[in-house]
Symmetry: C2
Subunit: 129 residues, 2 copies
DNA sequence: GTGGTTCTCAACCCATTGGTTGAGAACAAG
DNA sequence: CTTGTTCTCAACCAATGGGTTGAGAACCAC
């Protein structure tokens, strides 16, 4: 499951160790071994975490003899903020419209109270990708 | 696992169904039953998804007789964008500094090439919370 | 009261995840 | 070639996650 880019990115950042890896890589590139020194787990485990980050497009890796330096890819972070901001903005617009209605009611100029319509056009899965 | 607020929020948005629920709730509040009509799964399953979103602070719920209307909480989304933007900005600053160095090299005024120091001060888990 | 609606809880199932260990690939340096 | 270093792959294990069904709580309407 979690086959799309966005799901993989959110899954990747859902783990505290992987978020910490991202934080470190934002300061400087690092190898698997360097990163592994920071955590109470085997290098294999860190390697797995990096694979998750890489498949989410958050990290890229080059070659330097045996070393595999890791590099943060900020565009993948953009993908997430774009998604989040879209719906945050949508929600806040809606709330401010609601506030406007409430303010109007305080002034007594209330529009005819229409009963809440149910089941209108709504987003589908395509909207979240 | 995933005990902190930030982890819970990322876990919550890692699932496509839950992202779609957030998208819908950004347009209007909805009850469990209304949401369940949109997905090929039982109301119990949707109820579980809402519980995850609620415990992540992304959704709040009120009472209306048997109904449990769901309401999107945009502040929780802020928490995520704040985290992401912090490290995206950090990384991009670093890259633009690197670009500056490369540009300087093109001009011939290259600073003495010091060998890359390893294992300096780095973020710990506290930095990601 | 009875009945219908809305929703949650509990138990269960199977796939995935996050860790482990052991083996080995790939490379640099003697 | 041998040795040491860095890293990945494979197998395994316990725990979690996303779904199911069945039962029942809570509420309105009659």
């Amino acid at each position: 499951m979690a086959v799309d880019q966005l799901s993989r990115a959110f899954v990747a950042l859902a783990d505290p160790t992987r978020r910490d890896i991202v934080a470190r890589l934002s300061l400087r590139d690092a190898t698997v071994g360097e990163l592994a020194e920071s955590y109470a787990m085997s290098m294999q485990a860190v390697s797995k975490h990096l694979k998750v980050l890489e498949e989410a497009g958050l990290v890229s890796r080059s070659r330097d003899a045996q070393r595999r330096p890791c590099h943060l890819e900020p565009q993948a972070l953009d993908l997430m903020t774009t998604w989040i901001e879209r719906y945050r903005r949508q929600a806040e617009e809606r709330f401010s419209r609601l506030d406007a209605v409430l303010a109007a009611m305080d002034h007594g100029d209330v529009p005819p109270p229409q009963p809440t319509p149910r089941h209108e056009a709504a987003p589908n899965e395509g909207a979240s990708s």
